[in-house]
Symmetry: C2
């Protein structure tokens, strides 16, 4: 299948910034981008699409998600964190089965696809149901089966979570044409014994795996780790070898200078989740400082239960403005920075070398953002428009590996009504 | 014209909170709400509309706007405040004529109507063009002609701005069936001599007018006022009698305890503009503290040049989450608080006693928010959904004074294509 997009504004990478090619042509041949330029390519195409008044840009990459948690959207909002988590979230999660989790993942996929997300990094149990949904949807995902261990007597041999995580990797890593990658996950320092963490990290390193963790999200977590181990969560993971292969850490709100040095030295990526950090009152991650130190920072929504949606445009906007207010400096975290975090930096986190950027030879993971609505006019500065004015509802096309998954409100791979039916059923069971 | 809405979720006021009447009926007779309840009213209606899977709520009130500044959307984003204002905004504003300003206001109206705003408080020059646009659109607005004076020798008799402001009041206050009210405006302490401010305030108080001002937006402004006058901007306005009739002050980021005491004693309202305060790095207004002291706090977007849109759902969301992060307390600024700020409290600011709340006898200023999209499912907590998950694109109907102005993407009173044409023309003239 060869597709030509014409009359498009195309967001291109120009060294470490974005630039806009106006009125350009972009061709897709199979799953890859085959041409970008100002001249119409002289060849035959199966489909030609007019992209007047649309910005074509790399699809967004949501690097920290718990996709099935859309099932808990809005539940316990405005409660203090501990009460929200222990009295509200955990009791509901205890009742979840694979059936509800699958329905949740499929709803999350509908939301992400419509909002311009082309790939996400997920952390939740019963991940096979999520993989099935991802496979069907056409999206990309880096999936994990999180490891936790609260019992100091549990041995690595006894950990069914470790066993499941390794089996998942064997069965699904690099499956569905490479759309599904299996990463590894230790949920957090405070939810895993050192013994299990160490054993699992050894397994991860043997496989040169990619480790997804929560780290220094709250001051409480950070301080209690120091009280318990005499080291920060970063030092704890690093001392266990957790950063020896490849790793990315969600939140990092309370990172100290010495932690950032470790992140930089060990090439550990930070996943910034500003909406969740604001809503749950975790605090302001020192993101500009991390970027200045050369740390790779990407973006994530966190789960919908602490956000309360999976809207990457909202996340870019939040990241772009809240740090200005906190630092009393309007020049931190500009449009280029957050667009880079949501695309290029996310692809690095997911170890997808041929994604995250519109260029010839890369996978065709492309979204089109409409400039039609009043809030996108006048289009004087398109990077600013995408960052500060755009809504995820402005996305009019989502393409992954050259395949259109969503166009003008229509889903091409998922049955929306069936998914809504399943969600209603799951909710009735969970909350009655 | 009698309209019945059936099968609606209706956001009602229950003492000082909102509650949701599920599967209810709401009737509109002429410009007012004539019935709300669980039983279908037994009378004839001209139109019956099914509102299944829609939340009907009071329309949003944007209490601080510079509507024509959509013409500068995105220009100079990410620059430091002074450079943005003096090197970018002011030179463009110097070139503006009534024609461009009118085009800007009309574009702003398209954006506001589609996003569920039913009324706004505006501050800009050439206000007659904005009034014309408001009159045609069917929206409500509290309009001002701002007074400034930089020349210490200027006398009140010489101030053409004062003259225009008073003429505007005589000509348009309470016009277009009360949809247009004329408020008064002193732009700010730092842009007006004490002499002109005092003289204008006397005129405002003679008319029992409503005064719209900028106040303590930046630390620089606040500190320089103290250095100049030995008093805070709040004390300066108060000592001039500025709070003796009725007043509302935008931003109030740097308000001190003693300022809040004055606000409370004099019934001065605060307009919170969180997106602008974050983006321009002004800081965090102590909003929860103001509310705890009993001060009326409403919401505003500020102009689109410092936001960069006029999206009140985004504004509610921002207000609801950023203070949690700043105060490290997830319980401040909850869903009820921000919904109240955007509706009930806004109507108080605008001195519209029969607006801001869905109840029998009130003006029918109503919006319908769809629960259809994936990000609005499941609908477990509708107040949380409206605050944390909803997008302004979920608005499927905007009604003002019983008249539908917008429905399912269609404008009923404004010619969108003509407005877009005028904006393109204005932009070509301004930026070439």
């Amino acid at each position: 299948m060869k597709i030509l997009f014409e009359n498009a504004d195309i967001l291109l990478r120009d060294r470490d910034k974005f630039s806009v090619l106006e009125d350009g042509y972009l061709a897709v041949d199979g799953e890859r981008i085959s041409y970008i330029g100002s001249e119409k390519p002289q060849e035959d195409f199966d489909v030609i699409k007019d992209m007047s008044r649309r910005i074509m840009m790399p699809g967004l990459i949501n690097c920290h998600n718990h996709s099935p948690m859309v099932l808990l959207r809005g539940v316990g909002s405005d409660l203090p964190l501990q009460q929200w988590l222990f009295d509200t979230v955990f009791p509901i999660e205890d009742r979840l089965t694979a059936e509800e989790i699958g329905a949740g993942s499929r709803l999350a996929l509908l939301e992400m696809i419509a909002g311009g997300t082309v790939s996400f990094s997920d952390m939740y149990f019963e991940p096979e149901t999520t993989i099935e949904a991802v496979a069907q949807s056409g999206l990309k995902a880096n999936i994990t089966r999180p490891v936790q261990s609260f019992d100091p007597d549990e041995t690595p041999d006894q950990s069914y979570r470790m066993k499941e995580a390794l089996e998942l990797y064997n069965k699904y890593n690099n499956s569905f044409d490479g759309r599904v990658l299996i990463d590894f996950c230790i949920h957090a320092e405070y939810t895993c014994t050192e013994r299990i963490a160490k054993a699992f990290i050894d397994e991860v390193n043997d496989r040169k795996g990619n480790l997804h963790i929560h780290l220094s999200e709250t001051k409480k977590e950070h301080d209690e780790c120091i009280a318990k181990y005499g080291k920060t969560p970063t030092e704890w993971f690093n001392d266990l070898g957790g950063f020896d292969s490849s790793a990315f850490a969600a939140h990092c709100v309370w990172l100290e200078e010495k932690d950032m040095e470790i992140f930089h030295r060990k090439n550990v990526s930070v996943i910034h989740n500003p909406t969740s950090n604001m809503k749950l009152a975790s605090g302001f991650a020192p993101v500009q400082k991390m970027l200045d130190k050369g740390i790779n920072v990407a973006l994530g929504t966190d789960g919908a239960s602490s956000n309360n949606n999976l809207n990457m445009f909202e996340e870019m906007h939040m990241a772009a403005v809240v740090h200005n207010g906190y630092d009393l400096d309007a020049t931190v975290m500009n449009a280029d920075t957050v667009l880079t975090m949501a695309t290029v930096n996310g692809a690095k986190v997911q170890r997808r070398a041929d994604c995250g950027e519109l260029k010839v030879g890369n996978k065709a993971d492309i979204i089109a953002v409409s400039l039609d609505k009043p809030h996108m006019r006048p289009a004087l500065d398109k990077k600013a428009l995408l960052t500060y004015s755009a809504q995820d509802s402005d996305v009019v096309m989502t393409m992954v590996d050259g395949k259109i998954l969503y166009e003008n409100g229509e889903y091409k791979t998922l049955d929306k009504e069936k998914i809504y039916y399943d969600i209603d059923k799951a909710v009735k069971k969970l909350y009655s």
